[in-house]
């Protein structure tokens, strides 16, 4: 049977795209463990590289793949709602530190977006790029929603999330040493606020306390940015 006929038979059903995704995800995780969990190469990046290479080799167009894989990605909706559970479990931490957190969160979460936006804008990036990287510090399921609202590209956003997460994991240690900070609560919060899920995974490697504060930083940044950024974007767009 010619290869073309084989491919068109297989890709006639969305289960082919679903199967490819599952296989790449599991293989990516396996390789990640074999490579002793490098911070600069998260499991999701390995899996995405494998999947992209597979699509290129077998000649399945990305748009066809993405359409079929929507059988999986539709679960992002309920999965985002599910994040309400860990958020509820973080409430005791929020109560204990509500004062510093209520001041720090809006400033830090706003700056997390603004520094990068400002630099990109100065360097002459297009409005599409700005809209795509604005949610760079927000956890992926929430960030995808925000980016759809403000008209960015989901693909570029996810690339920006990867780069931001990896950079955060690398920079927090350096900056903490520079500022002589040893409090794991502060380090964890900074990891989650700036580096979303990738930063949170890094924080859990430091200690459970750092991990808990990273989850807190990640959830609060996600909510704050989801409520403020689309509104701010609309206002700025209307003004300019």
């Amino acid at each position: 049977m010619p290869a073309n006929a084989l491919l068109s038979t297989l890709s006639a059903t969305p289960l082919f795209a679903v199967g490819l995704t599952l296989a790449a995800f599991l293989l990516g995780n396996l390789l990640f463990k074999r490579l002793k969990k490098p911070t600069w190469l998260p499991a999701i990046l390995i899996a995405a590289l494998l999947l992209a290479a597979t699509l290129a080799v077998i000649g399945l167009p990305y748009d066809t793949y993405r359409q079929d894989a929507s059988w999986l990605t539709i679960l992002l909706g309920p999965a985002t709602v599910a994040l309400g559970m860990p958020l509820y479990q973080q409430l005791p931490h929020i109560r204990a530190l509500w004062q510093p957190l209520t001041i720090c969160l809006p400033i830090a979460a706003t700056l997390a977006a603004c520094y990068a936006l400002l630099i990109a804008w100065v360097l002459g990036s297009s409005p599409l790029i700005l809209a795509s990287i604005a949610a760079k510090s927000v956890t992926a399921p929430i960030a995808i929603g925000i980016t759809e609202q403000i008209g960015g590209s989901a693909a570029l956003l996810l690339g920006a999330l990867l780069i931001t997460g990896v950079a955060t994991a690398a920079f927090v240690g350096l900056a903490a040493r520079f500022l002589k900070i040893e409090d794991e609560r502060i380090i964890g919060f900074a990891l989650g606020l700036n580096g979303h899920a990738i930063g949170t995974v890094r924080a859990f490697e430091i200690s459970p306390t750092a991990g808990a504060f990273a989850s807190l930083g990640m959830s609060l940044t996600g909510i704050f940015t989801a409520l403020i950024l689309p509104l701010a974007w609309r206002l700025i767009g209307a003004g300019g």
């Binding site: 559970m85 400033i107 997390a112």
Partner: protein, 117 residues
Amino acid sequence: MPALIGFLWLIGYWLIGEVFVHFTGLPVSSGVVGMLLLSTTLAIRGRVPNSIAAAAQPLIALLAMLIMPGVVGVFFILDELAGQWPAILFALILGTLLSVTTTLWLLKRLMGKHHAR
């Protein structure tokens, strides 16, 4: 069966979020509205029902897989944005360094006196 009941709750909250967004016209995603509703419900009940935990935990564990089809897309726009990458990379990396430093410094200052362990 508990996982199915929990899953139905999650879908229900998401659908409420969808209706809320449709009628208020607010620029937020249905998922975020559903998430806030879920955590408010849990806070009022004061505990996580087994059914919610049974559905939420595996879904959260699978988040990385659910965003993968989107992540792969970045490799297919590499050419489209060919000349733009240096600016994007520079903005993301320098921006992240600045914002990490600001967060650490700010929270240290704010927690300094009253909340030290």
